[in-house]
């Protein structure tokens, strides 16, 4: 690789520039980059865990009439596979990038509320553990990731399984909401001088949209879950059909959350791809404004399409028509992005490094998933496809082919920035091609098994229904996918220790995060840069690429911060103390607050056994601990 041959300006051993080491420094950290790294490791762990759950599912379905797992175990496996991948893998993988990248891309030294950031992470990791551990005791949630009530109410699901799910999602919701308020404030308020909204990197923009989706989507599921919790523990009747309750209440509230959630999962990957494609095409993103506006459009329209998940429940012709039309409409801004990416590559000097391969993989695979999605938007077609493997094929093309491909590309792309070392390109190429082939092998046949009528969520099936071959191919694909992920894990772990040393600007990209050392020092920017364009580093190094882009002309900036200087490559390697930059203190309070919060919810589990006193003691006790910690936290200085 050409870039690695160049002598790096300095070669710090990975992580040394963080200044502090040791496990306590990680537990108490408030540094957004470290929290980002924690998110990355934890989410990758859950990604592997969810993948193994999928492996069990496909093992069971490889051949007809297998009984490797029981029906009950199968229910727990598909529920936890979905829940893990959505809430514990993809969302936190995106959060890893939000944490690591947003401050670097906008030229900030940290997020707006560093301690709240640590709190979000700890709530996530404790909540994820809370929800995952029961599977080892055969008590994992078993109602599907959508948890349809009244099936999840006490008369139909009397075990602790659903309680873990209800409480787990509430906990994870708190983590996501806290993080979202933090990033909204960070993006609005922490941008470097001159970093106007229309100069922000596309990843930051897409993240910005996602934060609004989070703060508006999560309240709906929070309330739906509160109703379910009350029904289960306090005898309310929200989902009690005999009392006159509407069986669709849960479905509506869940999908009011659930559809924006789909965009919460995909938009960060779109953002990452929009960083990767221009870099490896050596050409600015085609139609930056259109990409941004279509992202905002997707965000808005995302709240008006939820009932297309419910065509089969019989909402009536009017509702079906309205939601079919809005669903077709939302395909437009999504399609626009695809063409923008293709046009970005058009005429570029393309370098097919690993991140670029995954980015192109996303365009190809997401398009397939997008098109089968538009097929579902037609209610008559949807009635044929709903609850069959066709839908499973569709959303795996979108979530694996879209989100995961984008995130993997992002990991290859930003690994040098995070660790100071490149990942192995050879293994990356192997990883890409095996993933690409295995992914199609797994999910493409599901279109056919679905069209042939194979329903979702059946734990086994009889031979001779025309599904056997397709299922076997899917299962072979999954085995391959597990092996290809193994290549990735080895590459990740090996490159962290012995990858080629990366310079500041590992790939010749144009945005701010590449102007500082890899890995970045704890203060990020020794001097806050004044930004005058969308690709400030290209203005410095490749002015021919950015000539003629609106918003790229240098303008007169009022430099209000005494330390603000023009964009430049930072090569110095001083500590924050030497530079006189005040850094936030490490603190363990966010972890204590998170632990108290999770204990508060866990206490309610005792309600299940009608141990009201125990439940209330634990819950009220930890609520008091939570409030106390919060007071101590808010009254102690940040730095």
């Amino acid at each position: 690789m050409a870039t690695t041959a160049a002598t790096p300006t300095f070669a710090p051993p990975a992580a040394a520039s963080y200044g502090q080491t040791g496990i306590w420094s990680w537990i108490t950290t408030v540094d957004h980059k470290r929290i980002g790294a924690l998110y990355l490791y934890t989410a990758l762990f859950f990604f592997l865990f969810g993948g193994l759950e999928a492996g069990m599912i496909r093992w069971q379905l490889a051949l007809p009439n297998q009984h490797i797992v029981t029906a009950e175990q199968y229910n727990q496996l598909f529920t936890m596979h979905g829940t893990t991948m959505v809430f514990l893998a993809i969302m936190p993988l995106s959060a890893a990038f939000f944490n690591f990248l947003i401050p670097l891309q906008i030229g900030a030294r940290d997020v707006a509320f560093p301690r709240l950031n640590a709190f979000s992470y700890w709530v996530y990791v404790l909540g994820g553990t809370f929800m995952t551990v029961p599977i080892f005791f055969g008590n994992a949630p078993n109602g599907g990731w959508f948890g349809y009530a009244p099936l999840t109410t006490m008369p139909y699901s009397s075990g602790l399984n659903i309680d873990f799910w209800v409480m787990g999602l509430q906990i994870l919701g708190i983590s996501s909401l806290a993080a979202a308020f933090n990033f909204i404030t960070t993006i609005i308020n922490m941008r470097a001088p001159g970093m106007t909204l229309m100069r922000m990197p596309v990843f930051t923009w897409m993240s910005f949209v996602v934060q609004f989706l989070l703060i508006l989507a999560f309240p709906a599921i929070t309330i739906a879950l509160v109703f379910l919790l009350f029904d289960r523990f306090f005898g309310t009747q929200f989902y009690e059909i005999a009392a006159g309750a509407d069986p669709l209440l849960w479905q509506h509230l869940f999908w009011v959350f659930g559809h924006p959630e789909v965009y919460i999962l995909i938009l960060p990957a779109f953002g990452l791809v929009s960083e990767i494609l221009p870099t490896f095409s050596r050409k600015p993103l085609f139609g930056y404004n259109v990409v941004i506006y279509s992202g905002i459009m997707i965000g808005f329209l995302g709240f008006g399409v939820w009932a297309h998940h419910m065509f089969a429940v019989g909402m009536g012709a009017t509702a079906d028509t309205v939601f079919a039309l809005t669903t077709m409409l939302i395909g437009v801004p999504t399609g626009v992005k695809i063409f923008n990416w293709i046009a970005t590559m058009w005429g570029g000097q393309i370098r097919f490094a690993a991140p670029m391969k995954f980015a192109i993989g996303l365009i190809a695979l997401f398009t397939i998933g997008g098109i089968s999605g538009v097929m579902h938007s037609s209610p008559p077609a949807d009635l044929q496809q709903t609850d069959t493997y066709f839908v499973v094929a569709h959303f795996h093309y979108v979530l694996f082919g879209g989100s995961i491909m984008g995130i993997l590309g992002g990991i290859y792309f930003y690994f040098p920035k995070i660790t100071g070392r490149y990942m192995s390109e050879t293994m990356g190429t192997w990883h890409f091609w095996t993933t690409f082939i295995a992914m199609n092998l797994t999910f493409f046949p599901m279109h056919f098994s679905g069209m042939l009528g194979m329903p979702r969520r059946i734990y086994t099936y009889d031979a001779g229904q025309g599904w056997d071959t397709f299922n076997l191919i899917s299962s072979i694909g999954t085995a391959m996918l597990i092996l290809s992920t193994l290549i990735f894990v080895i590459n990740f772990l090996k490159s962290r220790k012995s990858g080629a040393i990366a310079p500041n600007d590992a790939w010749g990209a144009g945005t701010l995060e590449w102007s500082i050392p890899s890995p970045p020092p704890d203060y990020n920017f020794a001097e806050i840069p004044v930004v005058t364009s969308r690709y400030p580093l290209w203005d410095l190094k490749h002015p021919e690429r950015t000539a003629g882009i609106a918003h790229s002309a240098p303008d007169i900036m009022t430099i209000t911060d005494a330390h603000a200087v023009p964009v430049h490559e930072e090569t110095g390697h001083k500590t924050a103390a030497e530079l006189g930059i005040p850094m936030p203190f490490n603190t363990v309070k966010p972890l204590i607050a998170a632990a108290a919060l999770v204990t508060m919810f866990s206490g309610l589990l005792f309600m299940h056994k009608d141990q009201f006193a125990v439940a209330m003691t634990i819950t009220i006790g930890s609520a008091a601990l939570f409030v106390g910690t919060l007071y101590a936290w808010l009254t102690s200085p940040l730095e």
Partner: protein, 220 residues
């Protein structure tokens, strides 16, 4: 965008892009999110309005199969009073913010207008009074035979107003915290933001009640 205002800190300056304080941006985003929370609760209440199979009902009398007669359960006169109390608490809240912001200005020194402790305490007391009304309302409903388990109306009513009450409770605790800071060291115009964000939250809880009062109590 360039209208940056430095934020005074100990020795160094903190730059924010918009010149606005981070905490105020965050509280508005939080309030935006709360809109959706209460929209979900109110939607459910409205969806279930008139769907209860057994009484008591909010606006209609009900005779149980055993012949027992239940009056319409909502007590408009009492709730009108508590609504008024909450509206007045918002007035006290703006007075408190005004007193802190205008500390030391002529017309504020030594007058009731400038007494931020009084206004903070008044807001908290009015908030607590509202909670008292709510406790009275809840207990009298239970006596009249409506609990959270009785019917869909009971479930959705108690959950909606209970969530609102929990928000008021959090607000009262917040106000008492500000009051204790004011007593300990005195809030100065530099602390106005602390009062401002609490006030925004408090008024938001108030406007939610304005919506609830009309949708739940007055429109049958």
């Amino acid at each position: 965008m360039a209208s940056a205002v430095a934020h005074e800190s100990h020795e160094h300056t903190h730059y924010t892009t918009t010149g606005l304080d981070n905490r105020k941006v965050a509280i508005w985003a939080f309030i935006g999110s709360e809109c959706m929370l209460f929209a979900s609760l109110i939607s459910t209440y409205l969806i279930y309005k008139g769907k209860s199979i057994v009484g008591p009902f909010p606006h209609e009398a009900w005779t149980s199969p055993s012949g027992q007669i239940f009056k319409p359960i909502l007590n408009i006169p009492v709730t009108s009073q508590s609504t008024f109390v909450l509206l007045m608490s918002s007035l006290a809240m703006v007075m408190a913010l005004d007193a802190v912001e205008s500390r030391g200005k002529p017309g504020y020194v030594g007058t009731i207008k400038g007494n931020s402790k009084f206004w903070l305490a008044a807001t908290a007391v009015l908030g607590a009074t509202f909670l008292g009304y709510q406790a009275f309302e809840f207990t009298s409903f239970v006596h009249e035979g409506l609990t959270i388990k009785t019917n869909l109306f009971g479930s959705s009513f108690f959950t909606l107003t209970g969530f609102h009450g929990a928000h008021v409770t959090a607000g009262v605790l917040w106000l008492l915290t500000l009051l204790s800071i004011d007593i300990k060291r005195g809030l100065t115009p530099k602390d106005a933001l602390l009062v401002d964000i609490c006030a925004l939250y408090w008024h938001f809880v108030d406007v939610v009640w304005i919506a609830i009062f009309t949708l739940v109590y007055l429109i049958a």
